[in-house]
Amino acid sequence: MLSLYRPGTSLVHRARAGLKLAALAALGTGLFAVARIEVVVAALIGVLAAGLLVARLPAGVLWAQVRPVWLLLTGLFVFHLLLTDPLTGAVAVLRLLTLVLAAAVVTATTRVTALVAVVEWLLRPLEVVGVRPARVGLMVAMTLRFIPVVAERAARIREAQAARGASGMRLGLLVPLLIQVLQLAATLGEALDARGADDVPARRPRRA
């Protein structure tokens, strides 16, 4: 979900990150409150229009987000077919699909920095109890940064093991991966120090 940002100048791109996240939250709440098929279908069409027509995202970008949940959606529909009725099933499935797509549109049109800034803003009230919003924001950004890095290292280890004849050993992957991640984390800590991450708390005005 991290490499998702697609630079652009559309209305959706330019909308404030906070507004987009608020709209996402409102959509989620609304769709669960009003569980009617015509509302859900209208929302789905609206989200697709915003993503494909207004933001001009390639369909592949949205599809990439739906693909991992495809099985879940099918399962959910089958579950409803067996236990409730097709209409309820359709509402449940389309609702989830709409939300996944809406989240994809938001992440594809919003810079990580902007999303992180919203997180920091939301956390500001917690400063009084000692939460450092800038720190949490940095953690969010770093998590997004290191998911692909760790995934890539895992893939490399898997290849190395496969090259030596191992196959599908999940546990065998874990130990070397853990060692690499720990090494990475140690250097990362030093790099944060070297780049002045420590300066942050010192510069924030402390509240009485």
Partner: protein, 243 residues
């Protein structure tokens, strides 16, 4: 240009400790294991190379220079500032580039990562934008502004890491094996960037040919400086020593 600059400082004033990195009888141990023993050096040259066998203490030495490692005994002074007590100020003066670019890029996209150090220093947003743009152009990364860092090539990642350090305008930069993970083309590209820096640099490397034009090369052996001189003096000595 470097020679000219060095000549100018030498002529203008006698060498003050202010403009140098000084190690005074520095010893460092990780637990029981002593990895540097009684090292005393004054570093004033613009281009200093550090070579030596694996485990000889090069990285530990490099980390001493910006306070990432504080010596167990002895003192390290950067322009007269003690790395033990004035580490924040020292780190602003001495940038550090690591071997593995993946471990030093902390933000998901290129421009955001370059801005990281400036944000930490509380630089105003418009100035950050200007300086980031400048540095991205300088290192040929301006076409990748919003690209995810993990999609860059190894060489581009290392250039990004260097850009993230140089945007903070340190007076010195320490490189710990910046080209070890790179292919020949990228090694040369990074070497050219290092050569062109106006900052003083200390480069730890196993790529001996990169040091030909350096002012001074230190050869480490078992935690001591076994040789110290021009590349012409030290590199052949080290090569012969390796057998």
């Amino acid at each position: 240009m470097r020679w000219g600059r060095r000549g100018a400082t030498a002529a203008a004033a006698p060498p003050l400790p202010r403009t140098a990195v000084e190690l005074r009888d520095v010893t460092h141990a990780y637990g029981e294991r002593t990895v540097l023993a009684g090292v005393s050096l004054t570093l004033t040259e613009a281009r200093i190379g550090v070579i030596g066998a694996n485990g000889s203490g090069k990285s530990t030495f490099a980390r001493l220079l910006n306070g990432l490692v504080v010596p167990t005994a002895g003192t390290v002074l950067v322009d007269g500032l003690d790395t033990r007590t004035q580490v924040r100020e020292v780190r602003r003066r001495v940038g550090f580039v690591f071997q593995d670019p993946d471990a030093q890029i902390v933000h998901p996209t290129v421009a955001e990562d370059v801005a990281f150090g400036l944000t930490n220093q509380g630089v105003p947003a418009d100035e950050i934008a200007r300086r980031v743009d400048e540095v991205l152009v300088q290192y040929g990364l301006d076409g990748h502004r919003d690209h995810p860092a993990h999609l860059l090539s190894g060489g581009q990642k290392q250039l990004l890491a260097i850009a993230g350090v140089l945007v903070m305008e340190p007076q010195r930069v320490v490189f710990d094996e910046p080209t070890t993970l790179l292919d020949l083309g990228n090694t040369r590209r990074v070497a050219r960037v290092v050569d062109g820096l106006e900052q003083d640099v200390v480069v730890v490397t196993h790529h001996l040919d990169l040091l030909a034009a350096f002012d001074r090369v230190l050869v480490f052996e078992d935690g001591r400086v076994a040789a110290d001189g021009t590349p012409a003096e030290t590199v052949p000595w080290y090569v012969a020593r390796c057998g």
